[in-house]
Subunit: 327 residues, 2 copies
């Protein structure tokens, strides 16, 4: 692990709606941040507008920090299945970027600089392990809750990439073969239940069935207009029905974690991602349910389930750290 | 990796019904084998009768091969959750051995020799990676089909043990939250469907519903007496109903493999274990179903699903290899 004279590394996290850029110092602390909307080009532009925005964020961070790009590690996290050769082969929440090679697109825009690109949840896992909630743990599963569920896995402190580079796509574990259809083609994927879209779907089902009165009021009286934020808002106000629904989603979170514990037996599970307000409820609930869902749960060392230290910044911080470790 | 002057290592695989001992040469070939029934002590004997049988098999192999125990690596695979300190904390198919420390029990019976003990499916995974079907692959998932489903995982050629030592307990991934109850306490575990007991259960359900005429005949006319062997026998005779049932079990095998591919993205999945006759049908069927069950299946490098090279011997061979690598 080498570093620049200044010790600063730059990390960018590309999300479906926002591009977050950070400068991170040697201790893993964020010393600068820039947020831009993710471009939504009206027609396929093969990643050009995304590369323009990312390059602009990188140049501004570099100038703000006074660090020359040529001596500064630069990493970018992307939301989707990243092949080992750097192609983002599938990005359901960023369709305009599916198939692009962002490092190649950035190179001419950054004066020949080559960025390290990786899956965003892999970046988040690395950040949490190196300087966050999972520090000191050997085997770690990171789960990012957003529209879907992403994942990153570390064994003996090393990221698990997989044969094609697609390890950690945990949101598409099937938990309920007869469950609701997922855009991926399967039924009952974990992210149909324990994600932002899962919370919204379960809330609308409950609202349509006449439950969640206060939540429906908050959504303007229309059960079909209920979204996850309405549930979380009502829960923060102490609404028992909203709290019960979040506990149901928390059970689903625990059920998927239990599957991952069967497979990997991590000492630590970190839950992060963009569901900032709901995450606290869900993590508490998942912790309560997990022990009862594990084979021989009473014979195991308790698995620690923690909230991400870096919150929604974990992906950007981890991208910077990954680039620093690769440099 | 050191080895004895003779190059021979001894491996023992303790199963629910049989204890298999092998001597393995430097090339991973079996040069001797001894099979004994697993003792079924009438009351708790704290592992003493099992240790007696294992020690007897070890002494006989050592004498046959003319290899002094003190210079010969010795490994033992056990069917259950093996803690990192060597305690077999949970062994559903070998209840009399739950809680024992077999290495400690063997030591006085083997003149002070300390055996390497490990989970049997972990041993099998190692054997298949070092000299079997998964040779040359970096990331491997081994699945052993027997009464239940066991598993072993290698990443970058190294066994994944997990925080407590329980990684690879893949049979208790839940695929159907509303499915049949499992002795572990959960519903719809993978091994309720895609194991020997799963095959038997699905066959009895089909027989009770009036299907599987030839299979029921083979079971003496009683639908409740149908076992997996009757289905496999009828399938070998070409019975379309038996073949359809095996294809259903093969779909469940593929569904669980697809979950593991989401999580780990291995380049190779090896299927082994004791279901020797059925395994060929199941592996063929799982291969056909797998592509359609994977997220973005068409964008992935095809995952290779292979039958175990060492068949039911993989656990014993792997125990020997594990001991050799540890010596």
């Amino acid at each position: 692990m080498s570093s620049t004279p200044s010790g600063v590394a730059l990390g960018i996290d590309v999300g479906g709606t926002k591009v977050l850029g950070v400068a991170v110092d040697e201790a893993g602390d964020i010393v600068a941040r820039i947020l831009e909307p993710t471009p939504q080009p009206p027609r396929p532009d093969h990643g050009a507008s995304l590369a323009d925005v990312v390059a602009s964020v990188v140049h501004r961070l570099s100038e703000q920090q006074g660090v020359p790009l040529r001596q500064t590690p630069l990493g970018v996290g992307l939301p989707g299945m990243m092949r080992r050769d750097g192609i983002l082969v599938f990005a359901p929440n960023l369709p305009s970027a599916s198939g692009i090679d962002l490092a190649a697109l950035l190179e001419p825009r950054l004066g020949g600089i080559r960025a390290v690109v990786a899956n965003d949840a892999d970046c988040a896992a690395l950040a949490e392990h190196r300087f966050g909630a999972a520090a000191g743990h050997d085997s770690v599963v990171m789960i990012t809750l957003g529209t879907g569920i992403g994942g990153g896995i570390l064994i003996d402190g090393q990221l698990v990439r997989g044969g094609s580079g697609f390890a950690g796509e945990v949101g598409h574990m099937v938990l309920d073969v007869a469950g609701p259809l997922c855009p991926c083609g399967s039924r009952g994927c974990w992210e149909r239940f324990a994600s932002g879209s899962g919370l919204g779907r379960l809330a609308r089902e409950a609202a349509m069935a006449g439950r969640l009165r206060l939540v429906v009021d908050a959504a303007g009286g229309d059960p079909e207009a209920v979204r996850g934020e309405h549930v979380t808002g009502a829960a923060l106000d102490g609404d028992p029905e909203a709290l019960a629904l979040l506990d149901e989603v928390g059970w689903w979170l625990a059920r998927g974690i239990a599957n991952l514990v069967c497979v990997l037996d991590p000492s630590c599970v970190v839950v992060g991602g963009g569901m900032t307000d709901a995450a606290g409820f869900l993590v508490d609930s998942a912790r309560r349910h997990l022990g009862g869902l594990l084979e021989a749960g009473e014979l195991r060392t308790a698995v620690t389930v923690l909230s991400a230290f870096f919150g929604a910044d974990a992906g950007a911080v981890g991208a910077a750290l990954l680039a620093r470790e690769a440099s």
